[in-house]
Amino acid sequence: MLINFNFRVIWEYMPLFLEGLRNTFLISIVSLILALMVGILACAARLSRWKLLRAVSIVYIESIRSTPLLVQIYFFYFGLPTLGLRVPELETGIIALMLNSGAYIAEIVRAGITSVPNGQIEAGISSGLSYTQRMRFIVLPQALGVTVPPLLGQAIVLVKDSALLSLISVLELTRCGQELTSERFMPAEGFLTVAVLYLCIYYCLKPLAGWSQKKLIFREEY
């Protein structure tokens, strides 16, 4: 099959692919930053003392985790207009990605905080450290180490998830493959190039995740 693989077309469309790659990159970064904020807020609500806040956060997290991202994207894409809101496709997509990843990040952060052993906190109490001091010097530094590797994993997922925005005609990487298919009917050239470019992103992030796993996680050892 590689014999009739048309590299000339790929070259011709390279500017488009690079634009798609850049957009995928930007969409992912923006969504990740927003999702981090949403996630931290949702986690704080999840661990809060107020029942109502906890309930709201649980409903949000569980309903996101139990439904497909594509359905969430369509929910906003077809739903916002019925509310009379005209939101462009790109922003709609970013809202969906933000809320989706936010729910997963909330759980990641919560797992990080609860992973700090009770004995650590008791040791802090015993030397007279206040609640904020214990959080700042003992719980958060250790929780952060535990949180970073899965957060990088979530970043990888987010890059892949952003591909679904092609289905609401946002021009990102996957959309380029679709254009090549519809304009020239060259799906092989289009989608294989797209796949290779995604793999490049993946192979940049994967070692980072592995490194953070080794470097940042401190465990109590007995």
């Binding site: 077809f78 019925t82 892949k160 493959g177 298919t181 989608f191 294989l192 796949a195």
Partner: protein
């Protein structure tokens, strides 16, 4: 609004048919990917570098590319290599190929988590390598494998929504077809979401429960 609500009740049977299709696609892929995933996962722990490396590359490719791209590749590109597939088999092939890669990682992780001494003890009692695996190692690793395995099933059911793009009339596609005719996006996709929730939420709880049970056991050790 009320008018649309009654129309949605009218077309509810279509949603249920869509739900059935979702269950069918995911169910078949679940079985196939579990079998393939276990085989790959066991091979992944083999001694041969060639085998483990090739499986590693396969897993990376599946994990490193979006599922929607994989679906397009199966549906649009395989035909030019002489493999023409209907939407349904294409969907099952794509779902199986991806999920098997994730299950492979779960299984090999579970096997590697069993202490080396267990292999040695089993070997010392004269079991063959296959027997060591089947009688001693796998039963122990099943406990660590099970919670993330159920988690993978949930991911797969959710990812099955993506095969709507190649025309499989499952739940998401039914929602899409409906919303084109009835412009009540919120209501339609809330309904679709609820139907997914009904399948996925119990599975997530199951996975959490299995994990909780596992953590209790490890504490006792």
């Amino acid at each position: 609004m009320a008018f649309y609500a009654s129309r949605i009740i009218q077309i509810l049977p279509y949603f249920l048919k869509g739900l059935l299709m979702t269950i069918e696609v995911s169910g078949i892929s679940l079985i196939l990917s579990t079998v393939l995933g276990f085989v790959l996962g066991i091979l992944r722990t083999a001694d041969s570098k060639l085998i483990t490396r090739s499986i590693g590359v396969y897993v990376d490719v599946m994990r490193g590319t979006p599922f929607v791209v994989q679906v397009f590749i199966v549906f649009f590109i395989l035909p030019s290599w002489g493999l023409q597939l209907e939407p349904l088999p294409a969907a099952i092939l794509a779902l199986t190929a991806m999920t098997a890669a994730f299950i492979c990682e779960v299984v090999s992780g579970g096997i590697k988590a069993v202490p080396k001494g267990q292999w040695e003890a089993a070997a010392a009692s004269g079991l063959t390598r296959m027997q060591q695996l089947r009688l001693v190692i796998l039963p122990q690793s099943m406990q660590t494998i099970l919670p993330p395995l159920v988690g993978q099933y949930v991911l797969m059911i959710k990812d099955s929504s993506v095969v709507s793009v190649i025309g499989v009339t499952e739940l998401t596609r039914v929602g899409w077809q409906t919303v084109v005719r009835i412009p009540e996006g919120l209501m339609v996709f809330t309904l679709v979401g609820i139907l997914y929730f009904v399948i996925c939420y119990p599975l997530i709880r199951l996975s959490n429960y299995l994990e909780h049970r596992l953590s209790l056991q490890t504490v006792k050790l």
